[in-house]
Amino acid sequence: MSVLHIADVTKTFSGGTNAVDSFSLDVADGELVCLLGPSGSGKSTLLRMVGGFEQPNSGRITIDGEEVTHLPPERRPTGMVFQSHALWTHMNVFKNLAFGLKLRRMPAAQIREKVEAVLELVGLAGYGDRMTTQLSGGQQQRVALARSLVLEPKILLLDEPFASLDQHLRERLREEVRDIQQRLKITTLFVTHGQDEALSMADRIVVMANGKTEQIDRPDVVYRDPKTPFVAGFIGTMNLIEGEVSNGIFVRSALTVPLPIADGPATLAIRPEALDLSASDIPKASVHRVTDYGSHGLVDLDLADGTRVKSMVAHPDMLRAGQGVDLLPRAFAAYRNNQQIYRS
């Protein structure tokens, strides 16, 4: 059953362009959906419309079948975690967590019980008396999460909650949040522009660009089968090669790949790990640089016209710069007019 239903929502700021443009999405009960996209693609704006902090110009948002499109934040069953944590610095941790419960006129004893339970949940048992300024960045973000969780929202909204933390902490918190989310089975919208964050956490990923949906799919599908060249280039490393198809053959410089589609321009997409190299008398590319990562190697290659492509190889020590090689794509896809038209 879909808990959150976003239908054809558009948001235009006074500037003119659509920050969010005819966006639709259904989120199922207990699902974690990541909004992924480059800076300015409208992720935060969309999240803020679900939270009630921005009003859409058109479209509808319903939560559990109830229309909330124009309700203020305090009347929505959503809980938001901000990037800057936005904890109230004049209150200690306990009061930060208790504030929302007090507004709901819960008895003091029950408030204490709930706050302690949620502090335990985020691994901060016994921190109630601390001032929020006396916490580390990761602890502050945990308190911010707890502040939302303690109210048991129907939908949890997170806007790049870990962006200001270092890599190590980010990875740990990411796992913790995912664990908590799965334990509580809480429906979650998570904004990020880190693709590894999206790939590792999400049940489904929404890839956004210019306020529009590019693709909505499971992480592995988004990675393996990107539906648009934008997604292909945005998720993971991808060789995107512009060329011409004629008589079922894709041609770019010396590179030729059989491609059974109608004649015309096309973009060929090949993952580095799906592009094999072999020694050849008539080379199609020359090795520019070899980087040995120990477990594997990454090879930068130049086609005759200077187009750069990348290949991932198991034995980089066999190759050296300047060497000519043949290119053997194992799996690839082709795009025309921003649509995928072929996949091997």
Partner: protein, 274 residues
Amino acid sequence: MTTLVPVRSRIDWLGIVFAALLSLAIVGPLVVVGTWAFTEVWRYPNIIPQQFGFRFWGQTLGRADVWNALVLSLQLSTVVTLLSAVICLPAAYAFARMSFPGRNILFFSFLAGHAFPKFGLLVAIAAIFLQLNLIGTFWGVVLIQLVGTLMFMIWIPVAAFQAVDRRMEEAARDVGASPFRVFWSITLPQAGPTIAAAVLLSFVGTFYETEGAWLIGAPGIRTMPVLMISYINNQMVIQYGAVLSVLLWVPSFIALMFARRVIGGGAFARGFGG
């Protein structure tokens, strides 16, 4: 907020000299006046008084007009400060958070009112008050002093409100607080120390204000500072004025103690956009 600790390897002599001169200029007159207040006999060539004592304290404090003036001054300052807070704080919030036509001009006018010589403005207002029968009345003085507090009570709180993190307010809405509750529980406490500074400044400023109080209040309303001036002008005995001025330090000290308690370090600087 970060605190910058300047790294100084050399002693800042210029700074020390400057500070010393400044304290001399402030403390010097205070010491002289303070000494006079406890002096019974002090004739010309001597550097220190011949005879100390509390005689003039008894005489000054025995006067009914002194007590009336003190009570009146406290009443005036309290009423003016409260009224000013009730009027100015919501206005400051509106200036800080909302945009409406004429916002900038209106905002600037509060400053402009203080950019011109005040006495001329006061005389013009006095003429109007005369027609309204407000001259020599308590509320007439309240009105004129209220005008004097507007700048402090608008400009400083506007800066304080603008410094409050919008996300904090949004987070409060998110957990279920109404806009008014957000203002009361989040915005006001966040801006609190700086606003307390503004309230304090306007209280003390009102207490010591003389021009408006004299022009509008005379002859019926005599505040402490007005009374002190009339003593100094009309009486040959220096001590009356000295005792009164020492008495007038009391609110300053109370205000300073209060300020130290309420306002944490750095809040004043924050209030002035630091």
